[in-house]
Amino acid sequence: MDLDGVALLGFADLTLALEREGRLIGELHCAILRQREAVARGDVAGVESSIRLASRALLTLQETQRHRATLLRRLVGDPASPLADLDTQFDAALPETFLAARRRVQSSAAEVAEEIWRNQEVLLGALRERDALLRELLTGSRPTAPADPPAAIAEG
């Protein structure tokens, strides 16, 4: 495909869409970090607020992705075309601004995914901690985590 004026305009729009996605991923990142801090403090209002922030960022991100799909359909005819494949569809090097925006979104998306995984673990830990506390209140003893067998038994 020719990287003509129309295609260059398409890439400019796509770059703007990617930059917007990058900002929204940043907002999601902030919400996820706030959520972790609020869970650590046992701050209900803080967790609620982080859920609202994350939901809003997520909704807008999905909207932006739909917009990107429209731009892709206009540019290459396929709204689901992977952005990395665009390099092979044009006979000239793609605009550097687009390549940079694509790299940034990819790296910030990978980073936020890791942070979300961490939060899922932290939240699971908070649930377990609560269960343990309730059990302690009801039975008077804190359940012990499965531990290694005592040395004597292990050896014998």
Binding site: Q65, L83, D85, Q120
Partner: protein, 64 residues
């Protein structure tokens, strides 16, 4: 006419004040309610799906 004994309406009674948000935030909350934890986990799961989709769309078709 108020309920109770005559003159009850005239007795000075202090209205219990509602707690402000600032006061509420100072109350020790203890462990978080499981409902809010599940809500947070649900929104995080949605976010993970959205980010995974995004990474799929960005990466080349060979990686999908």
């Amino acid at each position: 006419m108020s309920a109770g004994w005559p003159g009850r309406a005239e007795e000075p009674m202090e209205e219990p004040a509602l707690r402000s948000r600032a006061q509420e935030s100072r109350i020790p909350l203890g462990p978080l309610d499981p409902t809010i934890i599940h809500r947070a986990r649900a929104i995080n799961a949605d976010a993970l799906r959205a980010i995974d989709d995004l990474l799929d769309q960005i990466s080349d078709s060979g990686r999908r």
